[in-house]
């Protein structure tokens, strides 16, 4: 929620939610762990921060569930197990008489990750939440997962696999660039005919990079130029070395997921770094 739209009631609701959820655990933690006022304040702020992150992730998980359900329900390749059969209401590959799936999700996540050329669609300026992937990619991933499962799956089970495959989709906070048109894209000289194609590729990479950059929060954009230097990350974030490493790895994972796959990955990545104020050659 943007800062200028906060009201006292919003803050009270948020505090009420935090207390209702965590009051017992936080009280036990503070009584056991806090040694004085300074350490108590630090511990309490940390608990609240992690709780807020969890809340944001839950909201995004709900949106992901709705997206997956909608795609499954409107694609002929999938259907639901009819009533009266084992696994009634679960999702399966259309027309396959399979038993209900059970077990660990590791193999299914691997199958989801093995799906090539997953694309994240162009960013919508009216939405605050990043889309998980385009419809064709969601269909391909769901198909691969159900095939690997060789069984019917609950929506929640499928969503758990999607969350493991697309962790950035529930990663708060996400902030948009206000105006993509203001992002400069380098023009190429149109000399030989081949360079027209190169220029088109560069333009596509630039536009894609602008979209990816728009999915990063302001803090993440400040961090991108420093990813290769942990000391700089520490300085930017004002945190310890382990946290700096974790934030850097996390942002690299997120960028890898947002940039996606394809021949222009490197060009997009370098352009993202440039748009975030860095010198691509240093990364």
């Amino acid at each position: 929620m943007p800062g200028d739209r906060w009201q006292q009631a919003d803050l009270e609701d948020l505090l009420g939610g935090f207390l209702a959820d965590r009051v017992r655990a936080v009280t036990a933690m503070l009584v056991a762990q806090a040694g004085d006022g300074a350490s108590m304040g630090k511990l309490l702020r940390r608990s609240i921060r992690h709780w807020l992150i969890d809340q944001a992730r839950k909201t995004s998980e709900g949106a992901l569930r709705r997206t997956v359900e909608k795609v499954l329900a409107t694609t002929d390749a999938f259907d639901q197990v009819p009533s009266g059969e084992a696994g009634e209401g679960r999702w399966r590959l259309a027309g396959t008489p399979v038993p209900p799936w059970a077990g660990g999700t590791e193999d299914l996540v691997e199958a989801a990750r093995a799906v090539p050329y997953v694309r994240i669609p162009q960013w919508s300026s009216t939405s605050r939440r990043p889309p998980v992937a385009d419809r064709a990619s969601i269909v391909a991933v769901a198909h691969a997962v159900l095939e690997a499962a060789a069984g019917s799956m609950e929506t929640a089970q499928l969503v758990a696999v999607f969350l493991a495959r697309f962790p950035a989709v529930v990663d708060p906070p996400v902030t948009l660039l206000q105006d993509h048109q203001n992002v400069a894209v380098r023009a190429a000289e149109l000399t030989p005919e081949e360079q027209v194609i190169a220029a088109d590729d560069e333009l596509a990479a630039g536009v894609r990079a602008a979209e990816v950059t728009g999915m990063l929060s302001p803090a993440e954009r400040r961090l991108v130029p420093h990813l290769a230097d942990i000391s700089s990350v520490q300085e930017v974030l004002g945190c310890g070395r382990s946290q700096a490493y974790q934030h850097a790895r996390r942002l690299k994972d997120k960028l890898a997921q947002l940039v996606g796959e394809g021949e222009d990955v490197r060009a997009v990545g370098l352009e993202v770094i440039r748009l975030c104020g860095g010198a691509p050659g240093t990364q």
Binding site: L19, A20, A25, A32, D36, H50, P167, Q243
Partner: protein, 319 residues
Amino acid sequence: MSDPRIPQRFLDLAEQARAPRGLSDQALRDRFGVLADVEIQAGQVWQARWEDVSVLVLIVAVEGRDVLAAPVTIDPPADDAHSLVLEGPSTAFGIDTTVWAGLTGTVPIRVLERPVDLCGDEVVQWTRSASEGRSGDVPAGARRGHVISSELDPAALVRAELADDLEALRQAPGLPAAAPGEQSRGLASLLGRELDLASLCSALHLAQPEVMKILRGKVPLTAGQIETIAQLTGLTAERVAASVRPLPLGLVVRMEHPRWRPTWQERARTYRVSEARARLAGSYGTYSLAARQTGGGEPDWDERLRQFLRDEDTGPGGA
């Protein structure tokens, strides 16, 4: 009477926020006795704190001035594949508690503040095994933690914060301890060309032969002398103290025991210095007092400190 500005629903929620019975003063006394008598042992869960960094740690072993310990968290709820989650009823906290065996490492005894819980041998053994990369049977009343599948998992951030907190605790300043066969550099070599003998004699109100002994590192310094030399030379008190003569290991071990932390913290408040400075001054004061007394063998350092504190209460001096 409650503050009328606080909504009633918050007061109702606060009513639920009672401290776990297992952490009441009486329960802690029943479990551990008085802090002064507590012996640090494997299986104890301690609050470890230095400045604003505070972590719970499960002690796996005691190793000289350090303990081998795994961090323990109650909130936020998080774990990883190398951790053990203890169910609430099996802890003093009454809440599911994570033992991060994968982060097991040394923690200096000087940052231990107070014991808060006890874990069974099977939890200690599991933690030790997991920290060495071996897996054992999960103890009753516990479960293994979940795999962190991505760096974007919030548990990865909790783990990184813990690692930084542990590192901060390890950096807490300790007392300068004499190592076997180690020679101190001596204040004379530390000062080099900056040495001004006349100024030192004047500032310390000592004759030249006495100051020469100090410069050669032959005699311990009082807390006041350390402070005076530090002010005169611009060196830190820790460097002055260590350069003259490190403290005997036996004394250091006693002074860094948690039983004396309330004393150092009280003196830090009284003299408006850091806890580390208060402990350093008190330890050198104790050492100086012991050096003036006769008797063979290792002194009873706790008793010497009590005597030093009594003398300070009845005479001039300070931290």
